[in-house]
């Protein structure tokens, strides 16, 4: 037994890595979700096909295997990533595939008569999406995006596979060095919970901002 302060700082360093993975993974997931989600409803078959292939692939294989590929196999193709970059990439692409389906579903749930009103006032295809359809679809996506973000946070622990020292990894280290399981894992339990809480609060805030003045839309 010994220096608990040192062990705590070890875990906090891990928490920082987990937070980075989460925030940057979410950012990547969001971008990818919009691209693939809009691709899914494109009028060009080739784009729809590409988006579908991406989504099906990343939903149909495990994040564990995806991370392995990004970190250990991509270098053979000449792409070498830092562990953190690889972690962000795997998490972002994985969760982005789920979120893309959310984008697609929200866009398709905007009533048909909104498209028809757009045609009647002669908006172009891009203007329809940009000014009428997407703004109405966005509030529908946000609650599920919140769930996706929390899933991503919970998924970050897989990065120990590529020797990233995230929170779970550090808890294992502390456990090995102190022989105590309860203390490090109780600590990270609380920390994960607090991060998830912060995430859902943040999403809730964005949600109220975006839907403000939109009440009664549906």
């Amino acid at each position: 037994m010994g220096d608990w302060g040192g062990y705590l700082s070890l875990i906090l360093q891990g928490a920082l890595v987990t937070a980075k993975l989460t925030v940057m993974g979410c950012a990547l997931a969001l971008v990818v979700a919009f691209i693939a989600g809009l691709g899914r409803v494109s009028r060009f078959a080739a784009i729809r096909w590409l988006a579908t292939a991406y989504i099906e692939f990343f939903r149909g294989t495990s994040i564990f295997v995806q991370l392995f590929w990004v970190y250990f196999v991509l270098p053979f193709a000449g792409v070498t990533l830092e562990p953190l970059q690889a972690g962000i990439m795997a998490l972002g692409l994985n969760v982005g595939a789920y979120a893309a389906e959310v984008v697609r579903g929200a866009i398709l749930s905007v009533p048909r008569d909104q498209y028809e009103a757009c045609i009647a006032v002669n908006l172009t295809r891009f203007q329809r999406m940009r000014h009428v359809i997407f703004p109405q679809a966005l509030p529908l996506m946000l609650p599920t995006f919140g769930n996706n973000a929390i899933e991503l946070l919970k998924g970050t622990a897989v990065v120990s596979l590529i020797s990233l020292h995230d929170m779970t990894f550090q808890a294992q280290v502390v456990r090995a060095q102190t022989g105590s399981t309860l203390i490090p894992f109780a600590t990270i339990l609380v920390l994960y919970f607090l991060m998830a809480l912060a995430l859902s609060r943040a999403i809730r805030m964005i949600e109220t901002r975006i839907t403000r003045g939109l009440d009664g839309v549906r």
């Binding site: 028809e116 045609i119 009647a120 006032v121 002669n122 908006l123 009428v132």
Partner: protein
């Protein structure tokens, strides 16, 4: 003799194997106010939706303001219209829907200014001034900043009329614009349309079950059944002196159902 602003020639529209319109032909003169009446399912809405390019056609030709709507010339050959051609043609036509179809996420003013700013490049200040004039005309100047959800049905429909007018189309299509309204709200919308008919030289096509209004509003009434024109003529003739048995029985039924003629 001026040319027709709309020429419908041998128009066929099928949904699957069901022919809704079967070789329909008629012309509309510039400035004419046309009422389309007929039993449910006779194809009235389908005609308006085809003119607004919300529905494709199966066969035939439609000419609007001297240009083919669904066809264009490429290398001297006639080919189906592409999106750019449709976009150009749509600028001649506006439509008011039964269920208003306002943009719920935009204010009343933005509903009206959105399209002029985006499609015609009208400067915002000018578009807003024009929108206020239109709101004045439909009696809703005080609702400019409201959201559609805060309006009554009659008010929504008047905003929808203003939105369509803002683009200054030469042809306006009205599809049962009062039939989703509570009875006490019908009058305020009809009043706006009567003023519109009296004060503008816009060509108007009106689908309605309000026979009294059709009588007052229209220069010519077309009675449809099963996708064909059964009878047409000035309202006095159609409503007081219908020649065809099917027109007579339709009007009898409408009166029995409590509609004014």
């Amino acid at each position: 003799m001026t040319d027709p602003i709309i020429r419908i020639d041998n128009l066929v529209k099928s949904f699957g194997t069901f022919k809704v319109l079967d070789g329909l032909s008629f012309d509309v003169m510039p400035g004419e106010k046309l009422a389309l009446i007929g039993p449910s399912g006779s194809g009235k809405t389908t005609i308006l939706r085809i003119l607004m390019t919300l529905e494709s056609i199966s066969d035939g030709h439609i000419e609007i303001c001297g240009d083919q709507l669904y066809h264009m010339r490429r290398n001297g050959r006639e080919v189906p219209a592409d999106e750019a051609h449709l976009h150009k043609m749509r600028s001649h036509i506006g439509m008011v829907f039964q269920h208003f179809n306002l943009f719920p996420h935009k204010s009343v003013l933005e509903n009206i200014t959105l399209a002029p700013i985006l499609t015609k490049g009208t400067p915002r200040a000018k578009a807003e001034a024009r929108a206020m004039e239109l709101l004045e005309m439909v009696g809703l100047a005080d609702k400019a900043d409201a959201r559609p959800a805060q309006l009554s049905g009659g008010q929504k429909q008047r905003v929808a009329i203003a939105r369509a007018l803002a683009l200054q189309p030469r042809i306006m299509l009205f599809d049962e614009v009062t039939s989703a309204l509570d009875p006490e709200l019908v009058e305020e919308v009809l009043l706006v349309m009567k003023r519109l008919a009296a004060e503008t030289d816009m060509t108007m096509l009106l689908v309605t079950h309000e026979m009294g209004f059709a009588h007052e509003f229209a220069d010519r009434v077309l009675f449809f059944d099963k996708g064909r024109i059964v009878e047409q003529g000035p309202p006095e003739q159609i409503f007081s002196n219908p020649r065809e048995e099917r027109t007579q029985s339709f009007l009898r039924k409408i009166i029995a159902a409590g509609h004014r003629v």
